[in-house]
């Protein structure tokens, strides 16, 4: 299993409750003198990439960062960046010169030639959006001095998708809401978030579905409010959802403590003895374990352990640890063996 020292920043939280798993701030920017990536010709993408990477290389904020062009990476390495959330699915699956400039723990990354020329993203554990905004804002200001952004005073920063234009900001929170799901109140809470004008997505963002009771909530609009207001509003929603989840947990622990303990221990039984586990199965079983940690049902289990286990279960991390690539059936067997071994050492 992967050691705690290589966990990405967003998985470094240790709070046993972990309802807000992580926060993320993203800023979309484009260079004034080039067409947006999807419209630009291959040589132009290459040029944009080199303009941005040399600007970043000259700035102190990016001194510790590594630049990766997706073109130079194996499919496994690209998948690895996606699993660490240093890259997006569009970046990984796209074509042409595109990549990431990122710290080792993916706390701050530049995504280059994704939907926009630049996406600055800061990710951290728990509810920490204002700190992240400060990091992203500083990086953006420094970078904007070196480059020429597409910007109109009346419209703000111009982006490939008009819904992002303005601040180019998206504040998002990865929420873990198992008790709301188990008590049947989840649909109502998520629908409420949608009605208030927020977007709700699955674990890996756009286009991914709800697995393991993880959801990402984020603001939709880019204009009409300041960055601070967007962040405050979205963080307010995240803390309101935290309150709902918290009271659902209390209700669950009080009214159905025995059933919950049974469910948690049965999940541990499967994780210990299954010979083959898909990622999806693992995520939904470990969702139950997380709830068990919050309820103090399994004293030896910690959030840190579960975070390491989660990252180690992702396909590219699994392959990297084994030093070979697997078919999906083989991956399911290797995953089950790794999980069984790690769990049996602590339980």
């Amino acid at each position: 299993m992967i050691p705690a020292s290589v966990l990405p920043a967003w998985l470094s939280g240790t709070d046993p409750e972990q309802i807000v798993v992580s926060s993320r701030i993203r800023l979309a920017r484009n260079l004034a003198s080039h067409f947006f990536p999807d419209r630009s010709i291959p040589a132009e993408r290459m040029r944009v990439f080199s303009e941005i990477s040399s600007a970043a290389a000259s700035l102190p904020a990016f001194a510790e960062m590594t630049c990766c062009n997706m073109v130079d990476l194996s499919a496994q390495r690209r998948q690895l960046l996606l699993e660490r959330r240093a890259a997006s699915r569009k970046l990984v699956e796209g074509s042409g010169d595109r990549g990431t400039i990122s710290t080792d723990n993916a706390a701050l990354s530049l995504l280059v030639n994704e939907e926009d020329h630049i996406r600055i993203q800061a990710i951290g554990p728990g509810l920490c959006a204002l700190d992240l905004w400060e990091h992203a804002d500083n990086a953006d200001t420094e970078l904007g001095d070196k480059l020429e952004y597409a910007f109109e005073p009346s419209r703000g920063f111009l982006t490939s998708c008009p819904t992002n234009a303005g601040t180019g900001l998206r504040a998002s929170f990865l929420m873990h809401l198992p008790a709301l799901a188990l008590t049947g109140a989840l649909d109502q809470v998520l629908a409420g978030a949608g009605q208030l004008g927020f977007a709700v997505r699955g674990f890996f963002g756009e286009g991914s579905d709800a697995v393991g009771h993880y959801f990402q909530i984020s603001n939709r609009a880019g204009c009409g409010m300041s960055e601070d207001d967007f962040i405050h509003e979205t963080a307010l929603l995240a803390s309101r959802m935290t309150d709902y989840e918290r009271s659902a947990r209390t209700k669950l622990f009080n009214d159905a403590g025995e059933e919950l303990a049974e469910k948690v221990w049965r999940s541990i039984g499967i994780l210990l003895y299954a010979r083959s586990l898909t990622l999806r199965e693992f995520l939904s079983l470990s969702s139950c374990l997380r709830l068990g940690v919050a309820a103090g049902i399994v004293p030896d289990l910690t959030v840190e352990f579960l975070n390491r286990l989660m990252l180690s279960s992702f396909p590219a991390h699994l392959e990297l640890a084994a030093g070979e690539s697997f078919s999906s059936e083989n991956a399911d067997r290797v995953r089950a063996a790794m999980i069984s071994k790690a769990l049996s050492e602590i339980i």
């Binding site: 947006f36 040589a43 904007g144």
Partner: protein
Amino acid sequence: MVNCEECGHNMASVHLTKIENNEVTAVHLCEECAKGKGISIAIDPEKFGLASMPIPMQQAIAAMQPQAPSKPVLVCQSCGTNQDEFDKTGRLGCASCYGAFREQIDKIQLRFSDTLAYKGKMYSRGTCSEDETFLREELCRAVKGENFELAASIRDRIKRIARNPEAN
């Protein structure tokens, strides 16, 4: 990438369309074998006259089709993104698209926000225009590589800069 159909080992860089007995077949040859067959492919972009580059036949025919006379079709004069493309993808091609599709963009933004006012951080640096020298170099490269579709699109961009220096 295709290998040459004649020698089988070199990379094919000459792609021809052969019409025989009303049958259309594609022929892929390497430079050497093409020369051997007496097909001249030397193109000197200096002498070639970029502006007179032949437009692929299909595009020429498409251009002659009468346009549907309904509403006027919006096109960004800078990047060439048209109304259809924007409707289909929801994505803009360049900063100037914000001028070309202003009304539609306003409507989209008002779906998620009560106001169009920008209240975020300010930014001041001059904007600069498309780099024509760079585009001309790329045009030469595209022509040399016989990538005519790409060449045609780059040529359109250069033409737009000439026609419309303010749009950038």
